[in-house]
Point group: D4
Chain length 246, copies 8
């Protein structure tokens, strides 16, 4: 906002806008106030991607109002942890909108993104980690990335990942998703020179403590080149990977 | 109670009451024993506000009996974490009683309170924090405070709160309600000279651990002027704010 | 800062300042950059009290440089968790500076503050809580508050606090400091209509877990009107109390 | 068992039993093996009270088989955390069996116990603690104790318990049951010279962490004379109180 | 205190004391205010034993002042977690005062207590638990109990305790002290009909987490008849045992 | 895999295979890629037992596809934490497949295993631990072990296990399964010279924290010769026992 | 003990011993009572190895007395976590006694053990894990096992362990010792059909929480065949491995 | 390694190497075995940077031997958490080696790296976070990155960072280092479109729990684009940033 005001000041100085225009600009604040939500219309400019809607704890009505506002302003929509009910209502408005049941993501983009060159490789330790992987995939793709996947290659059968050295080398960024003991992130990181984004999942039972065990594993990675996002946070991993990918 | 006995002693000395009257007074203990509950009839005098009913873990029958006793004695009723069922039963007795579905509060006041001058400003980081905010609002208003709200101004889009400096300055006390990482309390506190009451919420997932993450954030606030209440405790924040507000 | 720019814009419009003056103003940023620290010179205006120095983790040299900057700009200095060594060095520069050995606070004020009317009452459960109480006291007094104390009145001998109802009633704000089980905050809060700021301390052993036990006790206070600050954070309690006190 | 063998040895030596009888005795082991359970028939002798059945995690069929075995052998039955379904089935066999819905206890005693002189006083902080209190009461009474109760006298209204000093003094043992911050145990213990058995409950929310908060409070009791049992363990408190009561 | 006032009131009514005497009585509050401490002179009457001094966090000077006050008023002194330095200073005043180096207790009794009939049996799992056991022993003995001990009979060699069934049976109350996994309390409790007070100790390493492991073990005792005190709290166990012992 | 390549290299050198054959071998990687899963066909060779399917978090369709692949390749199938629905579908394909409802295991073996000589003894502390014990039993038996069981011999009635010394001595490996305080593992280990595999269970309530209490107990075992697997992990205990058993 | 009595009974029956001899036998209990310790002289028979002395928390004098008793009775001595001071004192008595400075173990064996055939392989993830490995080695060797070691082969450079497949295959039991994220146990277990005993170490910082991170990793091992001992418990791992090794 | 073997196979096929040469290659394994350590000589090729030495828990002698091996092989050396003593010894061998006392890093590079274009911006919330920042800086620079710093711009004085929008925009990657509540990462991430690597520090006291509070804050960041490394892990942040920087 400071920047915006700075620009207004310069425009005023140069005569490009009048004092009246300058003051009017200041009222046009870069968010839309819906009462229960303030949709950050400025985020697209500031961060290169509009606000993403986290559906948990919001009513269907609230989500739809926010979604419409984002679509109207930015033309790109991502809703995570969404119910099918919300999708069906939005589909009536945006017939081409997509729902990934596994991941629980609703996504839509008026214009196809320009694809980046780099590849984001998404790896899971097990089959039960797929919903988190799919959330990461949906996010990465919506943000214009090429995505490859390598599912169910946990360390109990190490040859399944050792065997894919070429796939690992081809990637620009790697997302490793694992529950239980989460050892896969360390192993993958030790094999390549690419940044690894680690996502602990709540897959497991007992002393996995709903993801605390793999979270700690990943935080204590003896192999440098690993950074961690929240438990089950496929979206965050996809988003971070996209910022890193070129 | 010691005070009461003290007063009785003085009255006795001055001849205002007889010995018999003094002893009778001692039997008139300042609470009503319902067996399963001892309603604290003395609280209004001692604390300026009657006992508030926390509905969780009580049966509908128990709540209604307690509520009736408080209404009869004090004329002000606040029930938190209540089910609609209880509300409907109480509505038959007190037709003007209010239920805030979002917050889960039942409230009623025979006589409108004298409004205080100061404003309590309630801020939330996200839309999902609204139920907690509404509990704080219902509590504050029932206790005679003017309330303003500023919802969904979390630190992901900081300009939404920086933009409201005037609203912040106008407030006498500020309640900041946030889940996930709960960073908003620190940020708001750093901007103003008003006391900030921080309420961590259980909004979030994974390593937010049902509110532990924002609770710790708020306890470790690098900006002084912040004190914290329990996770999701909108009522406690509203009550504390009311004690502070003038 | 937005406000400042706003004001510059208005002054520019009204002709009170020239465009050159306006741009110059923008360069005069409200903090002093010492490299290892950015002293927030603007805080006095924004928050009514200058930056307070938390000595832990800073070298003596760093603390002294920051202290001198704050003294030069604001004339009020508070350093918490300080070593005597730092005090002795500062005493050569500011002969009237004070050191509270118990609390570990260094404090100085060029001009005596205007005393507020309200009283801050500081209560401890035990004798071992005194260092935290003294930190709260030093902070409160430096900020212009009258302070009363009531030490060692823990719930093991409840009459020691019940006996002081008049002292409790006289206070405008109450700080309750307790380790071990920290039950005193609930008890005091139940007796009066004043806001209670609770400070858990690390006094205790075993399952007190260095203050976690009283912290949880205070967060779960069944009596409303209590808000909590960090373990051993006497400074934070004194600061918050001062914001609330009138 | 060693003792039993010892006695057998002595009997053998004295000629009271033959070698054959001695060896046969050794086969008559003091428990009944039901396959899925080994009912400890020896417990009545060893501990003065038969095995108590914890219903959680057992099927109705298993519970009933165990119950029948205990009834046949000892004539005293206590089942905790039981469902009504089990009660109804047992009622067909033992028409006088009792079910306390609140506490979830099924209890039966063929012969009324000899009543002890001492009184067990059961105190709760709130109304929501009643199920735990009722479990303690059912246990204490089945074990032959006189029980008095004092419900809903939490520290938010301290006069409710201060007012009952005579009831406190009359008791031989006191059970204090409290959730949230659990401060009542410390307070009660500070008032009397009787042992206090503290029971933390899972009543509360947020940072009460399903009973951890009151558990820690009670473990760190600054007033000596308090010992603690598991969260919500009314049965354990009643049992321990009965061992202590005379 | 309420009682005291009650008695004053009665005396006043019966003419035994004048109004002036009654009011004077009220000023004679039952504690001694030393500023940094309020010594609870009333505790002896109320609880049958004077205040016990927990030395941690108090200066030597503070401890000695408190100790002298207690000695003057009650003639019985117990200081726990004390340094030898304090003992040596007190020894000059009270030449017969005792110091148990192992336990860190300082104790003194002007008059020998009347011995109770019952025996308190103190059991430890290992040799490293001795300091805690000695604290329990010093406390129990000072309170007039006969004490027997059974040290180093942990469950790794179960016969060491099974072998002492007669000693177990002879006791009126049993204190079981154990670190590491703390299983001994369950085992002992399963063998006898006496109340068992369990003391977890911080003996162990790694996943014993300074006593959390045995604390949890003891809280979850499958054998009823066990109650728990704080980690390393030999004093609390001895005190509780003494209240229970007859 | 390195080994495999090594062998290929040797075969190539010796002329046993052609270069073309060598390269083809390298493509025949030792797992089957189903997209959502990579079934480790090599595990049977490497570890002596095929991949075991953990059903949680997998769809019925996924489980069945994986199961069919394993059956086709190895002829031995073990699915843990399975629903009946999956069993019924598999039963149509493999009519002799078994489902243990208690344990939730589906198991099948085309050819009966060669039985080992040693006995695995499975002990539980209580009846509620049976599902975990049955999972261990199903696993051990499928892997070709003789299994004996000793259920409900917890330390509250120690004679039930002391009485079975001969059974304990007969075993080659012992699995001890216990919830609540989990003390049985220490006790059993102290009696024999056999390795004890301890399985904490989530049986209990309150401070058992869904198995953390017995987990810590077992980790801190004062008697050497105990190693621990995850909470409720009957499968892991059975598998480990089978590796150890001879 | 029951067995012993059983045997006495049989001997009595058969006339091999007299009644007087039988009763005398019962007095000759299988431990030596030193007051502060009860040395378990029976353990050698029962468990195949005498009591091991854990030095932490015992005085040098206590350790030496216990050590002498064990040497006299069993001729095999192992002291863990010992100081050099104790070693030097014991060396005067037993000149051939050994001290492993790294591991902190004192060990001695009058007669060399009969070596078992199997090999125990001890693997560490890093160099800092060596003290724990050396404790495991000293224990294993004293118990008559052949030991091989493979140090510093953590997953950051996986080829270091993949390269040693032959060494892995040769072992009968494998001990894997790792701090930080502890992933090595899963990886090793996935490669072989041997039982893996995992030892988490306190090596690491921050979120390794003194060994909690690798402990959880190892408990949640996705590859079956792993069991875990306490943090830094090299002794326990060596002891368990020796029981398993043949 | 598999790749290496692959290449050997190809070379063999094409005739570039003989069978003998191929087999010899297989013996030349890519690490140097020092007994206590296996220095990973292959890492430079595989990951683009040699093994980094974590000094904690290693003896000076071990560190120096490892360091010499790495220098000989790769010519780039980084030792973290090092003591001055080690530096002084290495300085005699490598006179140009550098020691950053604040960060505890020893670093050396035979040849200056080729500088990347992108800038890594390192931000700290406070002055006490500097040692961690300096570790990140030393790491980043050794890996060939341009580094800028912005120290002490915590959220208590938000304008200090808002004021540096241009510096933020200029960076390619941002490292945010913060203790206490760690809110700065969220705030910075919300302002820019660059990936933010968050480092929680152990700066703080009480409920910061040695870095757990900021760790959780950063994991729960409401603003996407943040990934987290271990507490105080400046090295890991610098390393990850370098992989991402271009």
């Amino acid at each position: 906002m400071a920047e915006k005001i700075g620009r207004v000041l310069k425009d005023l100085k140069s005569g490009r806008i009048s004092m009246k225009g300058a003051l009017k600009s200041l009222k046009d604040f870069p968010y839309k106030d819906l009462g229960f939500a303030k949709v950050d219309s400025h985020r697209m400019l500031r961060r290169g991607f509009p606000e993403v809607v986290f559906a948990n704890g919001k009513t269907a009505g609230q989500i739809i109002k926010i979604a419409k506002r984002i679509m109207a302003h930015d033309g790109i929509l991502l809703i995570t942890r969404a119910q099918k009910e919300v999708f069906l209502k939005l589909k009536k408005i945006y017939p081409k909108i997509r729902f990934d049941k596994n991941a629980g993501t609703i996504s839509y983009r008026k214009q196809a993104p320009v694809l980046k060159k780099g590849i984001i490789l998404i790896i899971t330790a097990g089959t039960a980690d797929l919903p988190v992987a799919e959330e990461a995939k949906a996010t990465s793709e919506l943000m214009g990335n090429r995505v490859e996947t390598l599912y169910d290659v946990g360390v109990a059968g190490l040859h399944r990942v050792l065997d894919k050295k070429r796939v690992l080398e081809r990637a620009g960024v790697i997302i490793v998703i694992a529950g239980m003991e989460g050892a896969l992130a360390s192993v993958v990181s030790g094999l390549v020179s690419k940044p690894v984004i680690a996502v602990p999942t709540s897959v497991g039972y007992g002393a996995s403590f709903k993801g605390i065990a793999p979270l700690l594993t990943m935080m204590n990675c003896c192999s440098p080149g690993v950074a961690v996002v929240n438990i089950d946070n496929g979206f965050g991993a996809g988003y971070f990977a996209s910022l890193v990918n070129s």
